[in-house]
């Protein structure tokens, strides 16, 4: 313990330290409290409305009664279309950016710039764009397909960027090591780089799916409001977030089922998160990188 000769500055900085200390505890406490309040509110108000029937029944009386079965199905289908289109596209784009083009090449700079711009575009704009392109120009109408494709465009930037980072994060040692074994560039990518970047790719997927699940504005004009059970991807379908929006904004007396739907959406996100976290854990343990 050192003793300061002049105790005034020490005192002052002591107060400063105390303040910083208080703030560093206060800020996370506020965040945690807000989070707990949110969760608590949703669980308390929603839990009463959620039972088996709510999951398997169709909505009745504009959603005030009945369940959300078709809405869960539509949500899954929209996400499925989005992931099926966006993931392969992003993976190849990320591979191109990370492996086949130098960061300084104009082509990849243009791509990066446009991705950054796209990432900043508000989702309602994607909705209008998706409506014009998929619903009208390509004649898909209000449909799950249109909605999923619109979401795919929307999550593309975030997916590409996280995937590019994941691929770049594979240390150069492994690239050179694999090449030194006489593997061709494509073998190096398929056998070494992609397997080693799986954790990062999964994180990207998680962010993308999370963003897609939460999306409403981009879907209002593309996948639409229809709350019937979809029979094909060309049917309109209402996702959970749109259902919640509709119940709370447009349907008097829809609050109870709105909360119940929020709870279901929350659980869904939690399940997807834990699933991907489990995958991450196992893939890291297998590779022997830190648990």
């Amino acid at each position: 313990m050192s003793v300061a000769l002049d105790d005034r500055p020490t005192n002052a900085s002591g107060h400063g330290r105390l303040l910083v200390l208080a703030l560093t505890w206060l800020a996370p406490a506020i965040v945690a409290a807000a989070f707990l309040w949110l969760i608590g509110d949703v669980v308390l108000r929603g839990i009463g409305g959620v039972d088996w029937n709510f999951i398997v029944d169709v909505p009745r009386n504009a959603g005030r009664a009945g369940g959300i079965a078709p809405i869960i199905v539509s949500t899954f289908l929209v996400i499925l279309v989005c992931v099926a289109v966006a993931v392969p596209l992003s993976l190849f784009a990320a591979l191109f950016l990370a492996e086949f083009s130098r960061a300084s090449v104009p082509m990849s700079r243009i791509i990066r710039l446009s991705l950054n711009c796209l990432a900043a575009v508000p989702s309602i704009v994607f909705g209008i764009f998706g409506n014009a392109l998929f619903c009208v120009a390509l004649g898909m109408g209000y449909s799950i397909l249109s909605g999923g494709l619109t979401l795919a465009c929307m999550v593309l930037p975030i997916l590409i960027r996280t995937m590019e980072n994941a691929i770049r994060a594979v240390p150069e040692d492994y690239r050179l090591g694999a090449a030194a074994l006489g593997l061709s560039k494509s073998q190096v990518i398929i056998r070494v780089i992609l397997p080693l970047s799986i954790p990062g790719l999964l994180v990207g997927l998680l962010l993308g799916v999370g963003r897609a699940l939460a999306e409403t504005a981009a879907l209002v004009f593309t996948s639409g409001y229809v709350d019937r059970m979809p029979s094909s991807l060309l049917d309109s379908g209402r996702t959970l977030s749109i259902h919640i929006l509709d119940l709370s904004m447009n349907v008097a007396g829809g609050d109870k089922n709105a909360y119940a739907s929020v709870l279901v959406l929350g659980v869904l996100i939690l399940v997807i998160n834990s699933g991907i976290a489990a995958l991450l854990f196992f893939s890291k343990r297998r590779s022997g990188l830190t648990s």
Partner: protein, 263 residues
């Protein structure tokens, strides 16, 4: 540079006027040397004089390094391996490279060895297994890891990892091994193990080894090449048998370096 006094079919690499630069910076200027098939050729010289750059040219890994530009001629069996139409992946299959820092893939021990085999077309699982056993035995790792082949390679010690990397190069039945300071990241005990491994491998493989350790070069090297840096560019000062370089060097610089009289 006077070529070593040997007949041509005992030469593995015939390097002629090799120049390496990174962007505009010259890293190695006009190196000519013959590297013999038998024994260990040790490359010594101060840091930054282009030893690693030289090594990477011998299996053309240099083309993987951004900005690296190589000119000159390197012949293996009269064929110029620097020619663009020369198949560099099959060259790397014949010439293994061991890195300074052990770099096993973060996969299981077995997968590390299986991966190159499978990628080069070995389908039969029994053949794969027996090759893995043979190579792990060759590097003296078999008894240490035979019960944990499915454990992560990164759970091995540094010395074991380096031997695993050597085994990984050996599964492809190469003719030659390039080693870039293979012991510099290892403790003295592991170093001794790897050194004796190199000694025994040198009976069957052509080995070129970069080392900062002069005693190691003297112990292991049958030939020694001394690199130096002048005006920011690396160059070969002289090459010859270990005995000649250490006991009767032609250049005063070599003399001073091997006696430890230059920084």
């Amino acid at each position: 540079m006077a070529p070593l006094d040997v007949t041509s079919d005992s030469i593995f690499w015939r390097v002629n006027d090799l120049t390496v630069s990174y962007g505009k910076a010259l890293a190695l200027s006009s190196v000519s040397i013959d590297i013999r098939k038998t024994g260990v050729t040790a490359i010594i010289g101060p840091s930054g004089c282009g030893k690693s750059s030289f090594l990477c040219c011998l299996n053309r890994l240099s083309e993987m390094i951004p900005g690296c530009c190589v000119s000159g001629r390197i012949e293996i069996q009269r064929e110029n391996i620097l020619a663009t139409r020369f198949d560099s992946t099959s060259l790397r299959r014949r010439v293994g490279l061991i890195f300074q820092k052990p770099n096993p893939f973060p996969m299981s021990i077995r997968r590390n060895l299986e991966l190159p085999l499978r990628e080069h077309g070995m389908r039969d699982s029994r053949e794969v297994d027996s090759t893995i056993t043979r190579c792990l035995t060759e590097v003296g790792l078999w008894s240490e890891v035979k019960d944990r082949l499915d454990a992560p390679a990164l759970s091995l010690s540094g010395g074991q990892q380096q031997r695993l990397c050597i085994a990984r190069a050996l599964v492809l039945k190469p003719d030659a091994l390039l080693m870039d300071e293979p012991c510099s990241a290892l403790d003295p005990v592991s170093t001794a193990v790897v050194e004796s491994l190199i000694q025994s491998l040198s009976k069957n493989y052509t080995i070129v080894m970069v080392t900062h350790n002069l005693r190691q070069a003297r112990r292991l090297g049958s030939d020694v090449a001394f690199f130096w840096m002048r005006d920011g560019a690396g160059m070969l000062i002289e090459a010859g048998s270990s005995d000649q370089i250490f006991n009767s060097p032609r250049h005063e610089l070599t003399q001073r370096y091997v006696l430890g009289q230059v920084a």
